[in-house]
């Protein structure tokens, strides 16, 4: 009787272990899929050096397209609909080995077939209004958009402990590029290049 209970518990426990390994394998495989199947891009970055409690030293990679000036890039964002924390898609085109963003949208269908990354809107700037222009009840969300700050999931690069400062200094001295693999909007940093 007791051994039967233990056997049942053992089967359930084995199932839990399989479940845990499936979750871990899912993390690994989804990243490998992006790295192996994705389009390889080289993007210019500006680094700084923080530290993660669980994961050690890493370099923050800041890209020019983290802050998008919406007067300089083509977009179809609707001021009344777009909000912080919503998903956003950024399409790229390649010019002389360097990839640069050229279109931003919230509609994934509009970037299908192109090289694009998916991100999250952190902050939106809207055109300020002079007091005399302001109607009695102005809806802030209807004001025209001027700037979009977004996170694209490729802003961190882990380095061996204690080497963050050294690497930062190395890359401060030259121009730094991030090698990024992109697959159906998902992206992973695969390495750093310095000139």
């Amino acid at each position: 009787m007791i051994s039967k209970i233990f056997r049942q518990k053992g089967i359930k426990f084995a199932a839990i272990l399989v479940f845990q390994i499936v979750l871990l394998a899912g993390m690994v495989l989804s990243s490998y899929l992006v790295i192996l199947q994705g389009e390889k891009m080289t993007l210019q970055v500006e680094p700084v050096d923080p530290r993660s409690l669980f994961q050690g030293d890493y370099v923050i990679l800041n890209y020019s397209f983290n802050n998008l000036d919406l007067s300089e890039i083509s977009h179809d964002l609707v001021p009344e609909k777009v909000q912080d924390q919503q998903p956003v898609y950024l399409a790229f085109s390649q010019k002389n080995d360097i990839w640069a963003p050229d279109f931003v949208t919230q509609d994934a269908a509009k970037v299908k077939g192109r090289t694009y990354i998916k991100g999250k809107i952190l902050y939106l700037s809207r055109k300020p209004m002079e007091p005399e222009e302001r109607p009695d009840s102005v809806d802030y969300n209807s004001l025209p958009l001027t700037m979009l700050r977004a996170n694209w999931g490729i802003e961190q690069y882990y380095v061996p402990e204690g080497q963050g400062k050294v690497i930062e200094q190395q890359i401060q001295d030259g121009i730094v590029y991030a090698q990024v693999s992109v697959y159906h909007g998902k992206s992973r940093v695969t390495g750093l290049l310095t000139e």
Partner: protein, 423 residues
């Protein structure tokens, strides 16, 4: 806990003396269990925690001597060895059950280390809450299967961290966090009468509920709506405390004390003119849904109870939740005075109830918060009226005299409570 131990010691004697039946004794044994935490178990658990943290920090150092595949293989193998070894020692051989349990706990920590390691290898964002969700999903079945408090706390920690990291307005974490809390964390905590986990889970509920009002209003920050959410949640906890008391549930004292602190803090804000006068500045958005939802819970609990008593008076605080709909009332001096009176009635009411019901926790808390209330109002009213030095000197004398009086009366009252209980 000492009560439970003494009771367990007394039960055989009571049965032998014919005071209670063996069935009664068994029922009492199950209702007031004694959880034994031996030194072996404590040491083994501490060892597991230290080892687990060490492994996480070791991989956090991003050691380059190993390839990424080898790193993953090592950590996954470590997870399997810890879990497998723990299971073998505790359930198959049964010779070292405590060390076995500690190894199972270590397995859960190593599983978390594996998640963070994979995140590091692929340069995933450190703030991404999905790592906490994966950790929670992996350890909650372990907590259920082995009825493990350690894994339950670990699951609760990760669930809460996932919710805090995913602070999107009314997104998946906001919707699923309370559901997962109620469906996966609370049942084993209640079944095992695990006071510690139960308290942590209710506090996690606070973390969810308070910003809910603000999020529902669709704005980034509203102190006013946050305080009303606190009042609503505290009222629900207050009613749950009443329910727990009728059912002789193990945590009724904690629920009452928690709701009292929440009601005190919420109502305290309403006693300030600055707070009242700012109603109407924030958009309401979907905030009325929170009020409607809470009202539905309260009405359901009351229908089940089928009666209203004097102890339902705090429910009158629900009226304060209507203030955002009538912001002009915030300018009323009469309302301000009435709320200040109500504030002191609530505080003294808790002291009175704590004394009557012989609940020292609530009684002491009531005395403490009464002193806080007096000090708060002294600052609020007299700071602008008196010269600075006179304000501090008179305040010091008042506080010293007040604390002497409170301590003297408190001891007196606690003594009479004990005597009353002894009769």
């Amino acid at each position: 806990m000492f009560f439970n131990q003494n009771l367990q010691r007394e039960l055989p004697r009571w049965v032998a003396d014919g005071l209670i039946t063996p069935e009664n004794a068994e029922t009492l044994r199950q209702r007031y269990p004694v959880t034994k935490n031996s030194m072996t178990q404590t040491l083994a658990l501490l060892g597991s925690v230290l080892l687990g943290i060490g492994v996480i920090l070791f991989f956090a150092a991003n050691w380059e001597a190993m390839s990424r595949t080898l790193k993953i293989a090592v950590v996954v193998l470590a997870v399997l060895l810890a879990y497998g070894g723990g299971y073998y020692l505790r359930y198959v051989r049964g010779t070292y059950p405590k060390v076995g349990y500690a190894l199972i706990c270590l397995g859960s920590l190593l599983y978390g280390a594996a998640i963070w390691l994979i995140g590091q290898i692929f340069h995933l964002a450190p703030e991404a809450g999905s790592a906490f969700l994966l950790w929670y999903l992996g350890v909650i079945p372990v907590a259920w299967l082995f009825q493990s408090s350690f894994n339950l706390v670990l699951a609760l920690f990760n669930l809460t961290a996932w919710f805090i990291a995913g602070h999107y307005p009314l997104s998946w974490p906001f919707l699923f966090f309370p559901l997962l809390l109620v469906l996966t964390i609370l049942p084993p905590a209640i079944r095992k009468k695990n006071h510690f986990v139960f308290v942590l889970a209710v506090l996690a509920g606070y973390i969810w509920f308070i910003p809910l009002g603000v999020k529902l209003a669709g704005i980034n920050y509203s102190f006013q709506l946050g305080i009303i959410s606190l009042l609503l949640f505290s009222l629900v906890i207050y009613l749950l405390g009443q329910w727990a008391e009728r059912r002789a549930f193990f945590a009724e004292g904690f629920l009452q004390a928690l709701s009292f602190v929440g009601l005190f803090a919420g109502l305290a804000a309403f006693t300030f003119h600055d707070f009242l006068s700012r109603f109407g500045a924030d958009a309401l958005g979907a905030f009325p849904w929170l009020i409607a939802g809470t009202l539905a819970v309260i009405v359901l609990l009351k229908i089940k109870e089928r009666q209203l008593t004097l102890r339902d008076i705090p429910l009158l605080l629900l009226l304060l939740c209507l203030l955002p709909f009538f912001p002009q009332l915030g300018e009323s001096s009469f309302l301000l005075i009435a709320l200040n009176v109500l504030f002191f009635i609530l505080t003294l009411g808790a002291v009175y109830y704590g004394y009557q019901a012989k609940r020292p926790l609530l009684f002491n808390l009531g005395m403490l918060l009464f002193a806080v209330a007096v000090a708060m109002k002294y600052f609020d009213i007299f700071f602008a009226l008196l010269p600075r030095s006179a304000f501090f000197m008179s305040g010091g004398v008042l506080l010293l005299a007040g604390s002497f009086l409170l301590e003297y009366k408190r001891r007196d009252l606690l003594k009479s409570m004990e005597e009353g209980a002894g009769q």
